[in-house]
């Protein structure tokens, strides 16, 4: 019996370590992300951003979180106490659980799910519920308006995002994120063709990424990226928070640690949607460097350490683009938002899905 008990213990310890590691990662990323956001916005607007706390203000976000931890947890008298206190947890946990299925490197993923992509999209949708609970539970008109807007926006944009993803899945023929990742590099066991005609199975690199496997996947990537901005409630689709109209939207009434959790969820979501985009379209943990003749750049830069480096770098670049967009484009009006989703992105995503099907049948 002894070995079996040990096996169980190891099993649980591994799970706990992975869970704590992912939490630590999302917390650290949120701290870094807030600092980066403030610096990027400052430089775009010819300001300096935080400069006082630590060298170049690097400790600013640590100071912020310290302040936030000390703050009082205020529950408005008219709030629905259960919904109000449960909402931040649901919002954060749903985003945090999304990380569970994402592959970081060849053979390294917190859990190997054969329906990983489906799971991630299902679990992220729970966030909508948390946002609605927060808005309703606060018993505040701004919160409720923000929550309503957020829910209508997220549900609408899940459709083009979903179809853009399906067009990838139809090419890849799997929902397993690790398998989709493997297909986009030199470790694949399939034949990969650049735009459907040039065999790049042993060349790898940039050329074997999904966006270059079929030209319409570039369009699908753009659709997914735009929709992911809306799902993460990022500008220019930040009408749920719309500071100038709704105070802070659904999290108006939150203070202290609860607010910190909502914030953490927002930044984790930014990284999560970027990482999904990277895994599906931009080669996941595969290197962008191709093998050129006898210079095997792709072989040299594909292993576990490089994998983590590449996926983190690409995701951070996408997060950077999200920030860049936020500080450039003005906020969409609700009718423009719905117009873009239902009249432009959804039909385009349908067309992409259709082409994917034809592509799979005729060219692969």
């Amino acid at each position: 019996m002894q070995p079996k008990a040990n096996y169980h213990l190891n099993f649980y310890i591994t799970y706990i370590i992975i869970a704590v590691g992912l939490f630590a990662f999302s917390a650290l990323f949120a701290l870094f992300g807030v600092y980066a956001e403030r610096k990027v916005s400052a430089f775009i607007q010819d300001r300096l951003g935080p400069t006082e706390v630590g060298k170049f203000g690097t400790l600013q976000t640590f100071a912020d979180i310290l302040k936030m931890l000390q703050k009082e947890l205020i529950v408005p008298a008219a709030a629905d106490k259960l919904l109000f206190s449960l909402a931040p947890v649901i919002i954060f946990v749903s985003v945090y659980l999304g990380f569970a299925a994402l592959p970081w490197a060849p053979g390294i993923a917190p859990t190997n799910l054969n329906i990983g992509l489906f799971y991630v999209f299902a679990i992220i949708s729970i966030e909508t519920l948390g946002i609605l609970m927060a808005g309703w539970g606060s018993n505040n008109k701004y919160s409720l308006l923000g929550a309503m807007r957020s829910v209508s926006q997220i549900i609408s944009y899940e459709i083009p995002a979903g179809f853009a993803i399906i067009s990838v899945v139809m090419i890849a023929q799997t929902l397993d994120l690790q398998a989709i990742a493997t297909q986009q590099g030199i470790l694949t066991s399939e034949t990969i063709k650049f735009f459907g005609f040039y065999d790049v199975t042993h060349i790898g690199g940039l050329l074997s990424w999904n966006i270059f496997r079929a030209p319409h996947l570039i369009v699908a990537f753009v659709i997914y990226f735009i929709a992911s901005l809306a799902e993460a409630n990022r500008a220019p689709f930040d009408i749920p928070e719309a500071e100038s109209e709704l105070v802070a939207g659904f999290h108006t009434e939150y203070t202290g640690l609860r607010f910190a959790f909502v914030f953490l969820a927002e930044y984790s979501m930014m990284f999560l949607v970027s990482m999904i985009g990277v895994i599906l379209f931009l080669g996941a943990w595969n290197t962008p460097l191709p093998n050129i003749g006898s210079v095997y750049l792709a072989n040299w830069t594909t292993n576990v350490a490089w994998g983590i480096f590449w996926v983190a770098l690409k995701s951070l670049l996408l997060v950077g683009v999200q920030m860049w967009i936020r500080w450039t484009l003005p906020r969409f009006r609700i009718d423009q938002l719905m117009n873009l989703c239902w009249k432009v992105l959804t039909p385009l995503a349908f067309v992409c899905m259709l082409i994917s099907g034809v592509w799979r049948l005729l060219l692969m």
């Binding site: 990027v40 400052a42 430089f43 775009i44 607007q45 010819d46 300001r47 300096l48 400069t51 860049w324 967009i325 500080w327 450039t328 484009l329 432009v344």
Partner: protein, 196 residues
């Protein structure tokens, strides 16, 4: 439709490239200089715009209309400033002296004590009327504009340097003199009546 989409991408790109340029533009600190300097607007074009207050401060003219200051030794407590003030932020309590108590620096004789000379800077609207009417030019506007205080009542500046006991003493002295005068008047009146 297609034209609109293309236009959208084009204008979006223009905006994005503009912010991208600023993102990697020089982020050197602003050198604070007066608006009179020749390259005042030029240096706004490159580098950041932030003034690191209070480490850096914009130069202000020496005769700027900022906070009020009173040279109480020169004040003859004529109350003109309090009367002209449109927002009634000056509160003066005068005590008549029994005789001349000295001279201001411009030679005007002082006959009143200022028991209280309070200016509520939170109310002040910086019109400068008080400085115009002052006959001895003892109330002036300075170039101090930072008036952050931890408590609101600290914004009420008290310029009178007279201790409360002294003010009370002078008040009594004046009352006594008044009483003496009244008694003398009464005596004179009585004398007059008796004389008739």
């Amino acid at each position: 439709m297609l034209k609109g989409v293309l236009n959208g991408f084009k204008t979006g790109w223009v905006g994005m490239s503009l912010t991208f340029k600023h993102l990697f533009a020089s982020n050197k600190q602003r050198i604070v200089s007066s608006i009179k300097s020749d390259n005042y607007f030029k240096q706004h074009a490159d580098g950041t715009n932030t003034i690191q207050y209070p480490k850096q401060q914009l130069p202000v003219p020496e005769v700027g209309r900022y906070q009020l200051d009173v040279e109480i030794d020169d004040c003859i407590v004529c109350d003109l400033c309090a009367k002209v003030c449109p927002v009634d932020c000056i509160d003066i309590e005068a005590i008549k002296a029994t005789e001349a108590i000295g001279q201001t620096s411009d030679g005007t004789t002082k006959r009143l004590y200022a028991a209280k000379f309070d200016i509520d800077m939170a109310k002040c609207m910086y019109c400068g009327l008080c400085t115009v009417v002052c006959p001895t030019e003892c109330i002036v506007m300075t170039n101090q504009y930072d008036k952050s205080v931890p408590e609101i009542n600290l914004l009420t500046y008290q310029f009178s340097d007279m201790p409360a006991e002294l003010a009370e003493e002078k008040r009594k002295l004046f009352d006594a003199a008044q009483a003496e005068k009244a008694a003398a008047k009464l005596a004179a009146l009585k004398k007059k009546e008796e004389g008739e």
